[in-house]
């Protein structure tokens, strides 16, 4: 794939940042538990098909990601190419996760 590998596309020209959690609820609220799914290259890198994350109530998907990257530093490889799905729909990282949500790490797809 020599002609494709080094191409860099950022459709919105956005800076890629990891956002701090947006805590909008009181500190006493119980943490929410999120199921995280790893597919394809993400599964190879983590060695897992899924894991579970506990994050403060009001956390964003972005915060979940930052926790995942510290737990699985190898995921860094796909940091800039992957996207997220929350409960089977593509979702921006700013989405607030809820208890029992299913967060999927979607590396570049290759169906067809």
């Amino acid at each position: 794939m020599a002609d494709e590998t080094h191409q860099v596309i950022d459709a919105n020209g956005e800076a890629i940042t990891t956002q701090a959690p947006t805590i909008r609820s009181k500190a006493k609220e119980p943490p929410v538990e999120v199921k995280v799914l790893f597919f394809a290259r993400a599964r190879d890198l983590t060695g897992l098909t899924d894991t579970s994350l506990k994050v403060p109530s009001g956390s964003t998907a972005s915060y979940c990601l930052s926790k995942l990257f510290s737990e699985f530093p190898s995921l860094e490889e796909i940091r800039r190419s992957m996207i997220l799905a929350l409960n089977e729909e593509y979702a921006p990282e700013t989405t607030v996760v809820k208890h029992k949500d299913e967060l999927a790490i979607i590396p570049p797809i290759s169906g067809g």
Partner: protein, 175 residues
Amino acid sequence: MMAEGGGGGGEEKTLVEILEESIPIDLNKYVNYVRSPSAGAIATFEGTTRDTFEGRKVVELRYEAYVGMAERKLRSICGEARGRWEVEAVAAAHRVGTVGVGEASVFVAVAAVHRAEAMEACRFVIDEIKASVPIWKKEVYEDGEVWKENKEFFEGGGGGCCGKKERVEAHVSGG
């Protein structure tokens, strides 16, 4: 896995399937599903697996899917095709697991009153599958393997949400 029916009512004829059995896609099944006396055209697309990639011999291809989401996306793509063209019936199937070289990995069939609508809608469906349905293909070579990446994924069709996708190095392992 099978999911039939459209957004509401029994009127919309849509069939989407992620096929988990290791058997060839039954193309006739989908063509016959969309066939109807009122449709004057059936357009189909069959995506087949190749035996070489840039000179490397492909031994086999392994597909995996986020099955629930893939079915959901397939259905929404078929719905979008209906919104854009006058089509009578749509069927789309994708295999997962190991697919032998030369076999169909994906099949789309669209029936419409006239051929232009059928062909355009069929092309739309396969293009959108490549851009946004969460399915992955690993090419296994004699001396390594690589997860493929569809260029359509990076062209904004994909998630339609994040716009922060960058192509990275090919993930070649082995050889």
